[in-house]
């Protein structure tokens, strides 16, 4: 199976060398998608001779991930796994997640809470709200709908590469469930960010994300 690791990166010059070092231990191709970073990411990618795309304008995480799927589609990959460039997603979970794709699943989510208990903080309340919406809509119980670490099989690669509305992770998950694709979750661990600050540390962004996701699950993903 031809597999691509998609690494969305925005201002990750500090995290990339470490990540690449561990990715080199795996037999898979990887593609770093530089979302018009304002730091030295671009020069670093050239210098380290890494397989990468430099986007001429900033597309945001969802856009960058889609670029990865487009690339996977164009170059005929059968499976793609998304691994954030900020070092939160640990490469040691690539194998167990991909194993499920090999088993014939179309969409595999690396879930932080499949076997472990989900804590109760503000962010997880948001996550639970999304979980219940997905459950209402598709009848399936998911444990970590906002996880960015996911692997996608052949068919969904081409769908995600072309569609404009699979922006955020929960949207894509809802679509996959609703359209009858085989979806599963695998327990993974995630680190706190090594460096840089999260998009969600701004409460306004969190609020907007929640509204977008809820509306999208309820009204748009069929």
């Amino acid at each position: 199976m031809k597999t691509l690791i998609i690494v969305p990166a925005y201002n990750e010059e500090k995290n990339i060398p470490k990540l690449v070092e561990s990715l080199n231990n795996y037999p898979y191709d990887f593609l770093i998608v530089n979302d018009c970073s304002t730091d030295n990411t671009k020069a670093l990618l050239v210098e380290m001779k890494l397989n990468h795309l430099n986007l001429p304008n900033n597309m945001g995480l969802a856009g960058v991930t889609q670029m990865g799927f487009k690339y996977a589609y164009d170059y005929g990959y059968n499976a793609a796994i998304v691994l954030d460039g900020d070092g939160q997603h640990k490469p040691e979970y690539i194998e167990p997640v991909l194993a499920k794709i090999e088993e014939g699943y179309d969409y595999v989510v690396g879930s932080r809470f499949k076997e472990k208990k989900q804590p109760w903080n503000l962010r997880m309340v948001g996550s639970r709200l999304i979980q219940s919406l997905i459950r209402i809509k598709t009848g399936t119980k998911v444990t970590d709908p906002t996880s960015g670490m996911r692997a996608v099989g052949n068919e969904l690669i081409s769908e995600f590469a072309r569609s404009m509305n699979f922006v955020a992770e929960p949207d894509a998950l809802t679509y996959a469930l609703h359209a009858g694709f085989k979806v599963t979750e695998v327990q993974v661990e995630m680190d706190d960010r090594n460096d840089g600050s999260s998009f969600f540390s701004n409460p306004f962004n969190s609020m907007r994300f929640m509204i977008n996701v809820c509306m999208s699950i309820l009204f748009i993903q069929w």
Binding site: V33, H52, L53, N54, L55, P56, N57, M59, G63, Q66, M67, K70, Y71, D74, M164
Partner: protein, 117 residues
């Protein structure tokens, strides 16, 4: 409908038509988009010349004055137009995304080719 409102509508629609035509002719606007505005101005022009249409419409809907019907119609048109713009923006957003990808991919391929030569 008062004669003052009628005259104001007449004037506004005439000015709009002239202004839009001017913009299209001076290449500041694509004809395709200018037409929407010219049509809009023509509708208002038509209504100000034949106000009985508006008055009849007001009676039909139970609107008390014809000026309120003018508001109703223009607000609806403004909504429709802004929705149309949202659709355009969203489509262009997607097109920009595709172009961004193509540019990134081509520049990658060119660089790789140059490196191999």
């Amino acid at each position: 409908m008062s004669i003052k409102l009628q005259l104001a509508l007449l004037l506004a629609s005439l000015l709009t038509t002239v202004f839009v035509t001017f913009c299209v002719v001076r290449f500041k606007m694509n004809v395709k988009y200018g037409i929407v505005w010219i049509l809009w101005a023509l509708i208002i022009l038509f209504l100000s010349i034949f106000p009985f249409i508006l008055i009849g419409f007001s009676d039909l809907l139970g609107v008390q004055t014809a000026s309120n019907t003018v508001f109703l119609i223009t607000i609806f048109l403004a909504y429709a137009l802004s929705f149309y713009l949202f659709m355009k923006i969203s489509k262009q957003n997607d097109e920009i995304k595709n172009l961004t990808y193509e540019v990134a991919k081509l520049s990658k391929e060119i660089k790789e080719k140059n490196r191999n030569e």
